[in-house]
C-alpha cells in the first residue's frame, strides 16, 4: 500500500498520541495497584498487604480479619473507584469544554453539583428521601443522583424549545445552579450544625466509601458513557469550529449536543452520588491532556480519561499517607491548583485561542 508523506505523517502523530494515552493509562493503573499498599496503619506492612492480595487471588481469605477487611474490602475497591471516577470526571470535563466552547466549563457547569448537593441536604436536614429505603448511604446516593439530573433535564428541555447558543446554555446552568444553591442555603440556616458538617464533608468529596458492591455501577456507567461520547467525538470536533460551520458540514449539532450533555450528566450524577463532588478534576485533566495531545477529541477524550485517572489516584495516595483523614477533594485542589498554574504558564499559550 502506497502512502503519501502527508498520510504517513498523520499516521505517526496519530500513533504517537494514542501511545501516549495508553502509557498514561498504564501508569495510572500501576499507581492504582501501588496505592493498595499505601497506608498509615502500623502493622499493615507491604508484605502483609501483598499476602492479603495473593490470598484473595488464590480464592481464600487472609487470616487476620482487620487486615483482610482494610486491604481487600476497602483499599482495592477504592483504587478501582479512583481510576474510574478520575477518568469519568475528566471525560465529562472535556465534553463540556468542547460543547460549551468555554475553557472553564467542567462537568458541574450545568448545575449537576448544586442539584446533588440540594438532594443530599434534603435528606440530611429534613430527612426527605426520594426513594425511601431507610438506608442512610443509599438514600443519600439516590437523592444526589436524581436531583443532580434535574438541572440538566431543565436545560435540555429549554434548549429543545429555543435556539440555544453555548452561552445561553451556560447561563441557564448558572441560573439553575443558583436556585438550588439558595435552596440548600435556606435549609442550612436553620439546620443542626452536625447536619451542616455532614453536608460539607459530602460536598468536599471522598473515596473512602468505595466498596465492592458500588464500584461496578460507577465503573459501568463511566465506561458506557465514555464509549458514547467517543463515538460522537468526530462530530464534536467539528462543532468546536462553531455551530454554523458544523451544520454546513452536515452535523446535526442539536442532536449531538443534547446527547453529549445528557450522557455527561448521567455519568457525572452517578459519580457524584457515590463519591460526592470532587472538584477541579474535570477542569484540570482535560487541560493537561490538551497540552499533551492537542484539541482533536478523538485523541483528547482517551488522553483526558487517562490523565484524570492518574491525577485522582495520585491524589488519593497522598491522602492515604496522611494520618488525619483529609478528603481527596482537598488534595486535588491544594496540590492540583499550583501545578495547573505552572503548567498553564509554561505550556498552554497556544492551546486555547
Amino acid at each position: 500500500m502506497e502512502m503519501s508523506a502527508l498520510e504517513s505523517l498523520y499516521r505517526s502523530t496519530s500513533n504517537r498520541k494514542l501511545t501516549l494515552s495508553v502509557c498514561i493509562l498504564a501508569v495510572a493503573v500501576a499507581v492504582a495497584f501501588l496505592s493498595i499498599f499505601v497506608n498509615h496503619f502500623t502493622g499493615l506492612s507491604f508484605s502483609v498487604s501483598w499476602d492479603v492480595l495473593t490470598a484473595h487471588l488464590g480464592g481464600h481469605d487472609y487470616g487476620v480479619y482487620y487486615y483482610d477487611l482494610i486491604v481487600w474490602d476497602y483499599f482495592v475497591p477504592r483504587a478501582i473507584m479512583a481510576v474510574f471516577v478520575g477518568a469519568g470526571l475528566a471525560v465529562g470535563g472535556v465534553v463540556m469544554q468542547s460543547m460549551l466552547r468555554n475553557p472553564i466549563a467542567d462537568p458541574y457547569t450545568t448545575g449537576v453539583a448544586s442539584g446533588a448537593s440540594f438532594g443530599v441536604a434534603l435528606y440530611l436536614m429534613l430527612g426527605f428521601a426520594l426513594i425511601p429505603t431507610g438506608n442512610y448511604a443509599l438514600s443519600i446516593t439516590t437523592n444526589a443522583i436524581l436531583f443532580a439530573l434535574i438541572p440538566t433535564a431543565a436545560i435540555v428541555l429549554i434548549s429543545r424549545r429555543k435556539n440555544m447558543t453555548p452561552t445561553t446554555t451556560i447561563l441557564a446552568g448558572v441560573a439553575v445552579m443558583y436556585v438550588f444553591r439558595a435552596g440548600t442555603s435556606i435549609m442550612t440556616l436553620s439546620a443542626d450544625p452536625d447536619a451542616v458538617e455532614q453536608l460539607y464533608m459530602w460536598n468536599v468529596g471522598t473515596l473512602v466509601d468505595a466498596r465492592w458492591d458500588n464500584i461496578w455501577i460507577v465503573a459501568g456507567v463511566t465506561a458506557v458513557s465514555t464509549a458514547v461520547v467517543l463515538s460522537l467525538s468526530r462530530y464534536m470536533s467539528i462543532m468546536t469550529a462553531g455551530d454554523k460551520s458544523a451544520k454546513s458540514m452536515g452535523v446535526r449539532t442539536k442532536v449531538v449536543r443534547t446527547v453529549a450533555l445528557i450522557t455527561v450528566a448521567v455519568m457525572t450524577a452517578t459519580i457524584v452520588g457515590y463519591v460526592g463532588t470532587i472538584g477541579f478534576m474535570g477542569l484540570i485533566a482535560p487541560h493537561v491532556a490538551r497540552i499533551l495531545v492537542g484539541s482533536n477529541l478523538k485523541y483528547l477524550i482517551p488522553c483526558s480519561a487517562a490523565c484524570g485517572a492518574l491525577i485522582l489516584i495520585a491524589c488519593d495516595c497522598v491522602t492515604k499517607f496522611m494520618v488525619s483523614s483529609v478528603p481527596v477533594g482537598v488534595i486535588t485542589s491544594v496540590i492540583g491548583g499550583p501545578l495547573f498554574i505552572i503548567l498553564l504558564i509554561r505550556g498552554a499559550k497556544k492551546v486555547w485561542y
Binding site: R161, L171, V174, R181, S185, L189, F280, G337, P338, K349
Partner: protein, 379 residues
C-alpha cells in the same frame, strides 16, 4: 431613502439607539430612589412618610432627648436602617460594575470578579479568623474577620496580576489561572473546615452567604470611597473596554495598550470587590447575572452598560435586602440567599425570551452599522 448611509438617517438611528439606553438608566435611577424610601420605611416602628421625615430631619440636624419615642424612631431609621440601605446600594452598584468589567476584560460570559479567586481568597481569610482565630493584622473579633477577608481576597488577584506581568497570557489562560487559584484557596479553606467542630463550621459556612445585618455607619466609609473611585475609573475606561470585545489583536491595533489596561482594571476590580465583601461576606449572583440581564436589555456597549448595571445592581440588592427582612419578620434571612432566589427565575425567563444572546455578548447591537461606525473612535 435610497442611500442607507444618509447622515440624517444615521444620526436619527444613533439617537434612537442611545435614547433607549438613557431612558433605562433614568428609570432604574428613579426606581433606586423609590426603593430607598421603601427600604427605610420597613423598620417595624414608623410608616413611610414618617420614616422619610425622620430621615430628612436628621440630615437637617434634628436631635431628640435620649429615651423618648421620637429618639427611638430616629435611632431605628437613622442608625439601624440607613447604613443598611446604603451598603446595599454601594455593594449592588459596585459588584455589578465590577462584573461588567470582568466579563469584558476576560471576554467570557462566565467571568465575574470572583472568577479570579477573589471570593475564595476572602473566604479563606475569613475562615482562618473564624476557625483558627488567626488574623493577618493581629486584630481580634469581627474586625479581624474583615481585615482577613480583605487581605485574603487580594492575594489571588495580586498573584494573577503579577503573573500576567511576567508572562504574556491570553484571557483564557488568565481565567484558568484564576479558577486554579480559587480551587487552591477553597482547598486550603476546606482543610480548616474539615478539622474544626460542627458549630464553628456552621458559622464559617454562614459567613459565605452575604448579609447586611448590623451594618454601622462606620462600616460604610471604606466601601463607599473605594466603590465611588473605582466606578469612576471604570466608567472613564468604558470606551476602551468596548475595544476589547473585538479581541486583543484588534484592540491593540486600534491603539490600546491591552496588557497594561487589563492589569490596571483588574487591580481596580480586586480592591473594590475585596473592600465590599470583607464587610458583608460573599454576595454572589449580582456581579454575574445583573450585567447579563442588562446586556440583554440594552446591548453590550459598556458606556451604557456600566451605569445601567450599577443602578440595577443597587435596586436589586435593596429589594433583596428588604425581602430578607420582611419575609420571615421579625426574623431575618440572608440577603445573598434572597438575591439568588428572586434573581434566578427572572434571569432564566430572560434567557428564554432572548433568542440569540451569545451574539449580544460579543458586543453587537441592533443597529450594528451605527455601532461599528462609532467604535474606532472609542479611545
Amino acid at each position: 431613502m435610497d442611500d442607507p448611509y444618509r447622515v440624517e438617517d444615521l444620526e436619527e438611528q444613533y439617537g434612537r439607539y442611545t435614547r433607549r439606553k438613557v431612558v433605562l438608566i433614568a428609570v432604574l435611577a428613579v426606581l433606586a430612589v423609590v426603593m430607598i424610601g421603601l427600604s427605610l420605611s420597613f423598620n417595624g416602628r414608623v410608616g413611610f412618610v414618617d420614616s422619610l421625615a425622620y430621615f430628612f430631619k436628621h440630615i437637617f440636624g434634628a436631635t431628640y432627648d435620649v429615651g423618648t419615642p421620637e429618639w427611638v424612631d430616629d435611632y431605628a431609621v437613622w442608625t439601624v436602617y440607613t447604613p443598611r440601605v446604603l451598603i446595599a446600594i454601594i455593594t449592588g452598584a459596585g459588584l455589578a460594575a465590577c462584573g461588567v468589567v470582568m466579563q469584558a476584560l476576560l471576554n467570557n460570559p462566565l467571568a465575574d470578579p470572583y472568577t479570579t479567586g477573589l471570593s475564595d481568597g476572602a473566604c479563606f481569610g475569613a475562615v482562618a479568623a473564624i476557625v483558627m482565630g488567626f488574623t493577618f493584622s493581629g486584630v481580634a473579633e469581627s474586625m479581624g474577620i474583615v481585615t482577613n477577608a480583605f487581605l485574603g481576597g487580594l492575594v489571588p488577584a495580586l498573584v494573577i496580576i503579577f503573573l500576567s506581568r511576567v508572562v504574556t497570557m491570553s484571557p483564557a489562560v488568565t481565567i484558568l489561572i484564576g479558577v486554579a487559584l480559587s480551587y487552591l484557596f477553597s482547598g486550603l479553606e476546606m482543610l480548616m473546615m474539615v478539622s474544626t467542630d460542627a458549630d464553628t463550621l456552621k458559622n464559617a459556612f454562614l459567613w459565605q452567604i452575604g448579609s447586611f445585618t448590623d451594618t454601622a455607619w462606620s462600616d460604610l466609609t471604606i466601601p463607599f470611597v473605594v466603590v465611588a473611585v473605582s466606578s469612576a475609573v471604570m466608567f472613564a475606561m468604558s470606551r476602551k473596554l468596548n475595544l476589547l470585545a473585538l479581541g486583543d489583536d484588534s484592540a491593540s491595533s486600534l491603539g490600546l495598550d491591552v496588557d497594561n489596561f487589563r492589569t490596571l482594571l483588574m487591580v481596580v476590580v480586586a480592591v473594590s470587590v475585596a473592600s465590599m465583601i470583607s464587610f458583608s461576606g460573599i454576595i454572589g449572583f449580582v456581579s454575574l447575572v445583573i450585567p447579563h440581564a442588562i446586556r440583554m436589555l440594552i446591548g453590550g456597549d459598556n458606556r451604557y452598560l456600566i451605569p445601567a448595571s450599577m443602578a440595577a445592581g443597587a435596586v436589586f440588592l435593596m429589594v433583596a435586602d428588604l425581602l430578607s427582612r420582611v419575609v420571615v419578620y421579625p426574623d431575618e434571612l440572608r440577603v445573598g440567599l434572597i438575591a439568588s432566589i428572586i434573581g434566578s427565575p427572572i434571569f432564566l425567563y430572560m434567557i428564554l425570551r432572548k433568542r440569540r444572546y451569545g451574539e449580544v455578548y460579543r458586543w453587537r447591537c441592533q443597529h450594528s452599522r451605527v455601532c461599528t461606525g462609532r467604535l474606532p473612535t472609542g479611545s
